[in-house]
């Protein structure tokens, strides 16, 4: 089969000089607006590194492991709104990117990953460092390509960027055989490159909008269920959400991925929903009569048991990805398209619709009273002992002491991630980077590198667990080499805390392989890499330690020794319904509400 669909439509390249594929690649990256690349060299990409050597326009960050490159590119993409770019060699270089690609696919992060491949005549011969990269990455990318000749390379790169950022964003991989990197051909500019999937989605029909507005005007127990799609749509979508919430007076909850789209300090904010979400968010989802899902995909960590999920509500779903609609939960109205655009359409329609008696805000009074009762249970509460640092306290203090600054937070995966989501109040979009879909331990540290590169002046903190951080710890070396002053705050409980919690609550306390008997000295480790560090275990010294971390130039590890046996509450055990939520207090499980 041929690349029939990709051959340039216009031969504007006729006057362009011939260049090796490696140069064509870099020209295309530049034309796509790329400034930074996260990568690691090797035999199959040496022609590309050779071409990079002479380019001052492209900044390359050499990581210490290709997984680190993918997460750094994810952090960069999420914090900057641009496409993150990864460069890796064939074979082990390519396979090392798989975790990050899968992570980006589930969290809809736009990445373009370039890998080298053995020369064309060696493909399929078990050549040195050969692997079937397109086969291996097929199911963890939005799309991938094996480039057949240099002539097609520029068009493929342009289409790869287009696919990565359009629709539901995601990772795209381009595998380039070494001899294609050396083969000469003419450049095709992005304006001449044919692109698939470039027709904009149809605007939502007015009648659908009006039906949704009518539901909204009548609803007595409405809720806006928001997700990462709002973040992906860009800051304007968060603005539109804020305006819509303000004008309708509806309560707002969000998934883990959507935090920051709506300000945590706002009175209509219910907190995060889902397995470790707030009581008020989860019970409001269960009891609502109208649910408007915006850029949220009814993940199993959100729905719990599907047949117990919000049984009495009319459901409206706004999503750019047709396959995310009705996937696990059937909805009554669907609005296909960009979250920001549809929110603006809804807002305009809301303003234009005349206010009838039924649409007065008083109709929701009883609902807000109910929410106030749930809120009063203070479901995130924890016991403060005063003689040890509770993990929640560490995050509360970090938030309190940094709220005046431009601060970006990344996390690893585990209990610390959930406490960060609960206790660090996000006011702005794009400030929170976490591995929500894949749940990748080792994400946060390299992601922080990418965020810091995008925002050199900002404070970037990786809220980490002692186990997760060791999965990609070697990227400390990258942070030092490139002067990226990331701060790593380890909530050190010496356990794989989330595993311990499940073993305690679900496996009758059989703590199988969840304790780290020998942890490294994290302070010495930071120093060994050329950064600095501090350990704190006394709650009265916590604030000073956080100030030291924030105030010290360069990469820093704060080893925050916390209580070992704390659990994350509330918790909806997997497979349970929202109203079967477990609270920290030895309170009985709540009875079904309605």
């Amino acid at each position: 089969m041929t690349f029939q669909t990709l051959s340039p439509s216009i031969t504007s390249s006729a006057i362009a000089p011939e260049k090796p594929g490696a140069e064509l690649l870099l020209d295309a990256l530049e034309e796509q607006g790329v400034e930074s690349i996260f990568g690691y060299p090797g035999g199959a990409v040496l022609p590309i590194y050779d071409a990079l050597h002479a380019r001052t326009t492209l900044r390359h960050v050499m990581v210490r492991h290709e997984q680190g490159a993918t997460h750094a590119a994810e952090g960069y993409a999420r914090a900057s709104g641009k496409v993150g770019v990864v460069l890796a060699t064939s074979g082990p270089g390519a396979t090392n990117t798989v975790t990050g690609l899968a992570d980006a696919l589930l969290d809809s992060i736009p990445l373009v990953c370039i890998t080298g491949q053995v020369p064309r005549h060696l493909i399929g011969t078990d050549a040195f460092q050969e692997c079937d990269t397109v086969g291996i990455t097929r199911s963890c990318t939005k799309h991938n390509y094996l480039v057949d000749k240099a002539e097609n390379l520029p068009c493929i790169i342009h289409e790869a960027f287009h696919l990565a950022r359009s629709g539901r964003p995601g990772p795209v991989l381009v595998d380039i055989p070494k001899d294609v990197q050396l083969e000469s051909a003419r450049y095709t500019s992005k304006h001449s490159a044919p692109l698939r999937r470039s027709s904009p989605p149809k605007p939502t029909e007015k009648t659908t909008l009006e039906r949704v507005i009518a539901l909204m005007r009548r609803a007595k127990r409405p809720i806006l269920y928001t997700g990462g799609g709002i973040i992906n749509s860009g800051p304007a979508a968060s603005e539109a959400l804020r305006a819509l919430a303000q004008e309708t007076g509806f309560p707002v909850t969000s998934t883990l991925m959507g935090l920051g789209a709506f300000p945590a300090s706002h009175p209509q904010w219910l907190g995060m929903l889902g397995m470790h979400g707030s009581l008020e968010a989860n019970l409001a989802m269960h009891d609502c009569d109208l649910m408007i899902a915006i850029g949220a995909r009814f993940d199993d960590r959100v729905t719990g048991r599907v047949d117990g999920f919000s049984p009495h509500s009319t459901k409206v779903q706004i999503d750019i990805d047709p396959s995310s609609i009705n996937k696990t939960i059937r909805v009554d109205e669907k609005l296909l398209g960009d979250a920001g655009e549809i929110l603006r359409d809804l807002l305009a329609c809301w303003r234009a619709s005349e206010t009838c008696a039924a649409s007065k805000r008083e109709r929701m009074n009883a609902w807000w009273d109910k929410i106030a009762d749930w809120r009063a249970k203070n479901s995130y509460q924890y016991q403060r002992s005063g003689d040890a640092i509770e993990p929640q306290l560490a995050i509360e203090r970090l938030h309190a002491l940094t709220r005046e600054r431009e601060v970006y937070v990344t996390t690893e995966v585990g209990q610390h991630q959930m406490w960060a989501a609960q206790w660090f109040g996000f006011e702005h979009p794009n400030r929170w980077m976490t591995s929500g879909g894949l749940g990748t331990m080792g994400y946060g540290l390299p992601a922080a590198l990418g965020v810091q590169l995008a925002h050199p002046q900002a404070l970037v903190v990786d809220i980490a667990g002692d186990a997760s951080v060791q999965m990609t710890m070697q990227e400390m070396s990258t942070a030092v080499q490139y002067g990226l002053p990331i701060k790593i705050m380890i909530l050190n409980n010496a356990y794989l805390g989330m595993v311990r919690q499940w073993q305690e609550l679900i496996h009758e306390g059989r703590y199988s392989q969840c304790y780290s008997d020998s942890l490294p000295d994290f302070v010495k480790l930071a120093e060994a890499y050329g950064g600095s560090g501090l350990q704190v275990s006394d709650p009265s010294k916590l604030d000073d330690a956080i100030r030291t971390m924030v105030g010290t130039p360069g990469p820093f590890i704060l080893d925050c020794v916390v209580t070992q046996h704390a659990n994350v509450y509330p918790m909806i055990p997997s497979g349970a319904a929202h109203n079967e939520i477990l609270l920290a207090d030895p309170e009985p499980t709540l009875e079904p509400q309605s």
Binding site: M1, T2, Q4, R138, S139, L146, L163, V306, N326, K327
Partner: protein, 176 residues
């Protein structure tokens, strides 16, 4: 509406027609999407068509399907090379046909008898070989099943079947 409608009970069989770009790996993408979801391919029939806009056209039949078929077409729609995917199930007016070839054993003497039997069963004689005859039959998958079963006692040496291709006879909403 109830949440359970994303699942279908009991599992059913559905055919999907898909047109896709002619590029390396396009078919692999579709097939691996199906297998990654634990679905079973009953048949897959594909050809590159050059008569119009140069694309691959295929019909894939999934059986034991416990997911609503429109969710499968939406999944197909995620694949970049997929231009159009539609479900063809019992509710949609369509024509479905499969082709089978069968090689039957028999000397010259048996031939006349075979011919009669074949014609009675709806098959068509194609060629005569040194060891017997080759015949073809067209029909729905069930008709082909019946035809092949009927041939077994007549000395069926070997057979091949294409799997169904389906053609919707009314325009339906298509994905993507």
């Amino acid at each position: 509406m109830s949440a359970t409608e994303t699942r279908v009970e009991p599992p059913q069989t559905a055919a999907f027609t898909v047109t896709l770009d002619d590029e390396p790996g396009a078919l692999a993408r579709l097939v691996s999407l199906i297998s990654a979801r634990g679905l079973n391919i009953k048949s897959l029939c594909v050809a590159i068509d050059d008569t119009t806009d140069h694309c691959g056209r295929l019909t894939v039949v999934l059986d034991k399907l416990d997911i609503a078929p429109d969710l499968i077409t939406a999944q197909f729609g995620r694949l970049v090379p997929v231009r159009e995917a539609r479900v063809i199930d019992h509710g949609i007016p369509h024509v479905a046909r499969e082709l089978a070839l069968a090689h039957l054993a028999g000397g010259k003497a048996a031939l006349d008898r075979l011919k009669d039997q074949l014609e009675a069963r709806g098959g068509r004689l194609l060629i005569t070989t040194s060891s017997g005859v080759v015949c073809e039959h067209r029909g729905s998958a069930e008709e082909i099943d019946r035809w092949l079963n009927g041939l077994k006692p007549l000395g069926l040496l070997r057979f091949e079947r294409t799997g169904e291709i389906a053609l919707a006879t009314e325009s339906v909403e298509a994905a993507p």
